[in-house]
């Protein structure tokens, strides 16, 4: 491969550029383009590209691999613009957070002589824009891959190999399934974060609140600091799934509300909070396994006993013991 072209040198494009450059392929040059000269030059300073082009078409016209790392709606426009100059046999991939629309656009706009392999690296950080680029984010990250039906096996294998070389974990998934899954674990949290900030920051008490807001608020609101353009495009191209999950979440919040105002709040809240706690600890454990990381340890069951004598919470203590036992047996059992 003589030339890899990256279109869009923001956080994701520059991160991929850094990772590819670090691989030091012989006789391969990484070139990039960004509409915004300041972003392009920042990306070059971060060693994400060997060479910059100010002209979009020049960037791709002799590339064997083109990576589209612009916001979702912009991907359509870039595809339309570059289609006439893409070399025959060229591989095109993208980094968009939704895939169904993008696969449709690829079919509509790209010539049949190029191989489109959809991609979605599940990375990103709070430091906004190109300054947040960091190839270490790719380490063990899930990298969704949605090949088009017309892409050659060789093209798909090339993208998979590059993803692996960059340290990420390729994850094949159908575009429809992808959009439905990420609606739940990525787009729903994004709207929750934004809604949390919208809610509290519009309160007359916000000037007092914001002085007390600490790490918990910081975590849960983190995604509200993502690019509004990127998030708007995600919403516009994955509306149905997001609305489905939003409705599920509102039902769950209504259940928590009913527990709070019900006649036996302690027991219901115990169950709901313990189940959520268990599910998240289990997820962290599975993730550690997948990543081959040191296992994340929940507190020993005995820790929970401390409250026993005080509040007579025998049932809760028992429940947490059961949870932890189940957790332990999963830990010592076979891996997924």
């Amino acid at each position: 491969m003589e030339r890899i072209a990256i279109i869009g040198l923001g956080q994701i494009g520059s991160t991929l550029g850094q990772a590819l450059k670090r691989l030091s392929f012989e006789n391969t040059e990484i070139v990039g383009h960004d509409r915004e000269p300041l972003v392009a030059s920042a990306s070059k300073k971060l060693r994400a590209v060997d060479k910059l082009f100010s002209n979009l078409l020049n960037t791709v016209e002799s590339a064997q691999l083109v990576i589209l790392a612009v916001p979702v709606l912009a991907i359509r426009d870039v595809m339309e613009l570059i289609a006439p100059v893409l070399p025959e046999g060229c591989i095109v991939t993208d980094t968009g957070s939704t895939k169904v629309q993008i696969m449709k656009w690829a079919e509509e706009y790209l010539p049949s002589t190029v191989n489109f392999v959809g991609g979605h690296p599940m990375i990103g950080r709070e430091t906004p824009g190109v300054e947040g680029a960091d190839q270490t984010m790719l380490s063990n990250a899930t990298y969704a891959i949605t090949p088009s039906t017309s892409a050659s096996n060789e093209a798909v294998a090339t993208v998979v190999k590059l993803v692996e070389l960059m340290g990420a974990r390729p994850y094949f998934v159908d575009a429809v399934e992808h959009d439905s899954l990420v609606a739940a674990i990525s787009h729903l949290p994004m709207i929750l974060s934004a809604a949390l900030v919208s809610t509290v920051a519009s309160s007359p008490s916000w000037p007092e609140m914001e002085k007390m807001a600490s790490g918990g608020f910081e975590s849960v609101s983190r995604l509200a600091s993502g690019s509004p353009v990127m998030h708007r495009d995600i919403c516009l191209t994955n509306e149905t799934s997001i609305v489905f999950w939003l409705d599920s979440l509102m039902r769950s919040l209504t259940e928590y509300r009913n527990l709070l105002t019900g006649s036996e709040p302690a027991e219901g809240l115990e169950n709901a909070l313990s189940q959520a706690w268990e599910a998240r600890q289990t997820w962290l454990t599975h993730r550690s396994d997948w990543r081959g990381e040191t296992v994340y340890l929940p507190p020993p069951p005995s820790l929970m006993d401390q409250v026993k004598g005080f509040i007579g919470g025998e049932r809760l203590v028992e429940k947490e013991k059961q949870i932890l036992e189940a957790w332990r047996s999963r830990r010592s059992g076979p891996k997924d």
Copy 2:
């Protein structure tokens, strides 16, 4: 002060113990008690206490300062148990996440000869239990202080001084106001985190989803990993305020839903997401000011221009420029 007693040597109690021990007061011994011997010995290993007592009453009977660092409902029981043996003039403080009930219990159970000064260090981390104790969490942390009307000025001044010496920022607040404020920025996010996990983890697609869940899900769901006992007690002692904020949040989520399904989703989502983005960036900036930290910089307005040519989003680009200009003028203006 000859003896400081910490009751409850979990994450918060041990963190305070570490911070107090680091101050190396001459002739002051830090003693501690935890119902659970394993927790107590772990705390001692983490150098949070000089000496352990297995008996609760022995721990406090010759202390000049008693710190109650147990879950909220357990605070009531500890107060009742230790009341008969508390030395005259002793200062009692706590670390509970809600304050109204605790102030009432202090009045009801503690003798009038002791000075109760409510406290709430706004700290905590995901690593559960005593293993997560770390006195560096206190650096620049908000530490809410709610003195009882009967506490002497000297007692209040002592607690404030200790909080400052431990590196935190004392923040005087009325107990009712405290509970209302933290309901929004601490308890609401906690329920959101738990509801997010409850929602997605109960889906039949969760086994696929959890493989794709990444940093965004991790952040927004973080508080679901907090102790179910602690969170249940918070809910049980701050129900009204939490329900108020839950209702506000559900209205906001309904607005986002209406925007998604409306006839002009792009514009409405642009506005809502940009406003949330602006509010959070402003909060991060204010917090940096309060903490005297390096300022958190949003992306330069020009970065947003990159999307302009592609999607014709002139209005959004203009909006983000306005946001950033407003943000800049606040930055250069007088501090709060």
